[in-house]
Amino acid sequence: MLTKINVGPIHPSTHGVLRLVVTLDGDTIVNVEPHIGFLHRGVEKLAENRMYMQNESYMEKIDYAAPMAYSDLYVAALEEAMGIQTKERAKYVRLILLEFQRIASHLLWLGTFCNDLGQMFTMFMWTMKDRDLILNLLQDVTGSRMFYVNMRLGGVSIDLPPNFEEHAKKLLDYLEKRLKEYEVYLEKNPIFIERTKNVGTLKRNDAIELGVTGPVLRASGVNFDVRRDYSYYVYDKLHFIPQVQTRGDVFARYRVRMLEMRESIKLIRDALKSMPEGDALGMPVKLISPPVKESEVKVRRELPRGEGMIFMVADKQRPYRLSIRAPAFINLSSLRQIAIGERYADLFAILGSLDLVMADVDR
């Protein structure tokens, strides 16, 4: 006999307002239907009615777990439309801030993922504490904890403060130590391994066909990272290896993110070492827009959740049309493929491993 269960939109493990209609045969999932749109704010439409630099703060609200990545994506699209070059030092500053943002986002993910596995709030509080230190560092730079709005055309709004390097290095050492602890803590736990290994496998071909990106894709054995394959800023100059796992299960996705945090730490260290002196400040915010060089631009960036893309038809003062490829939305579409045939309890492990932010899905 089939049972239909309505999971969400108010449920402890749906990370916001995702509603899933799950059909169960005993304990086995027969079908999963995601219902989205509870957090739809029409950001793309709103952007059409605002001046270019007014939109940046709207873009940050798309992904509240990694806002700076989105503001960078939008500003990069704008720079391409305007034909503005990023300053050399600003490239390094952006890279450092973005990688810190990636670590913060992955730490938040790790905590919520353990919550989904039923390890209520211990890991969550630990990773939140570490994430808080990163937020403090970013606050030192930008003046705000959550929504930074620090990217400007050609550079950043506020350059790194003088003692940033010292603080950052101390924080990176601390984070490296903590990550090692988390790895021991989780991977030495047989129940954690049991709950994640060989659960929710996404095969390589399915992953490519469904169009998933980011850690989910790399966990399925596809060696693709926008940071390397469509390199931007100084990622090609720094020593950087995309982290790939082959199994494609929940554990592989966990592992990819853990290794990515390590990789980010390495990247930041490299960038801090080779960062040139000079000016990193971008153009101040002006309501009157600079002249548009190209009318249609497409920019891609590796966000913490996957590949983010902006397609923008530029107009004189505001975007004529703005279209965002949100990574979490595409990754959510693979849920059905992964979850069918799995156990009901594993649905939440899978959902957690996809790292959804509902604001990103609904836009």
């Binding site: 039923g118 390890q119 211990t122 969550f124 509080m125 049991e194």
Partner: protein, 323 residues
């Protein structure tokens, strides 16, 4: 003659009443202090402070919570089977409290009956049935899944639990808990049969619905399992059940394996309570650190690990000590 009998009888009744009151005070004391300690321990593990505002160190927080829960309106879902749904939680509470009364607290306090051990575990196996009734009668689908899990869980751990207890009874040659404790005067049973202790402890974790076996009220999957539709006053009862069950579980563990009330200097009852608290805190620390097991894995774990281990324990006990 008649008057003498009546005096003895009334003396017995007075003693009985006093014992009932004293043990009930123990139950309430343990429940209250455990509720507070659990919150504080979990908070410490998670870099939080836990309750701090109500009373010194937040000692009265639980009291405030109970008052709040009891003052709220009881909402009963329209799909629920009203009779079963409203009768089962108090019955479950009564069952658990009754089970605590069946245990001896020292050589003099509490009852000592010849088949006490057997009776406790027979009655204890009714608790999953009660949870099944609450879950199935509430008319909520999450509770229904919880009810199914309840049955599967009791299938997977009841037999190893009873076999581990059988090892203890085999060594002691008695089902009388007082005898069992007094046999541990020189050596607690945890040293003599560590495998039996392991099986018993793990099965008790499942019986007490503690992580990693909190499958019935799995927060992240079933929201709260059998508690989803339980209204506020009944939720207070459910909390009372949870803590009293914890008391029962840690008492059983300390009586059967940790030499119960035997210890130097302090009164016997105090020793038993101290041991029960330590066992309870260990269980809370386990709660703070492990992820939840999956139901089919638990079944496999029960039948392929716990059951062979418990049988092995019985054989070992027989060969080493009894033969």
């Amino acid at each position: 003659m008649l008057i003498g009998n009546a005096l003895i009888l009334s003396n017995g009744i007075a003693r009985l009443i006093i014992e009932v009151i004293v043990i009930f005070i123990f139950i309430v004391f343990f429940d209250y202090m455990f509720g507070w300690l659990e919150r504080k321990t979990i908070a410490k593990a998670q870099f939080r402070h836990g309750p701090t505002y109500v009373g010194k160190f937040g000692l009265f927080q639980n009291l405030a919570d109970i008052i709040k829960l009891l003052a709220k309106e009881n909402v009963m879902p329209s799909t629920a089977d009203r009779l079963v749904f409203s009768a089962a939680p108090p019955l479950l509470l009564a069952l658990i409290i009754f089970l605590v009364y069946m245990l001896p607290f020292s050589n003099t306090l509490g009852i000592s009956i010849s088949l006490g051990l057997l009776a406790v575990f027979v009655l204890l196996s009714f608790a999953p049935l009660m949870l099944f009734l609450i879950g199935a009668s509430s008319g909520n689908k999450f509770s229904a899944i919880s009810a199914q899990r309840s049955v599967i869980m009791s299938l997977s751990y009841e037999i190893p639990l009873l076999l581990a207890v059988a090892g203890v009874a085999l060594y002691a040659g008695s089902f009388n808990i007082t005898n069992i404790v007094n046999l541990q005067a020189h050596m607690p049973f945890i040293v003599l049969m560590p495998i039996g202790f392991f099986v018993f402890f793990v099965a008790m974790l499942a019986e007490l619905e503690r992580p990693p076996f909190d499958l019935r009220e799995a927060d992240s999957e079933l929201i709260a399992g059998w508690l989803v539709d339980v209204g506020s006053p009944y939720y207070a009862i459910a909390l009372f059940v949870d803590y009293t069950r914890m008391f029962l579980g840690s008492l059983l563990i300390s009586l059967l394996f940790l030499s119960g009330w035997i210890g130097p200097y302090l009164p016997q009852v105090i020793w038993l309570l101290i041991k029960a608290f330590i066992v309870a805190i260990v269980i809370v620390v386990i709660r703070a650190t492990t992820v939840r097991m999956r139901i089919d894995r638990l079944m496999r774990f029960g039948w392929f690990w716990l059951l062979p281990l418990s049988i092995f324990n019985i054989i070992l006990t027989f060969l080493l000590f009894v033969r």
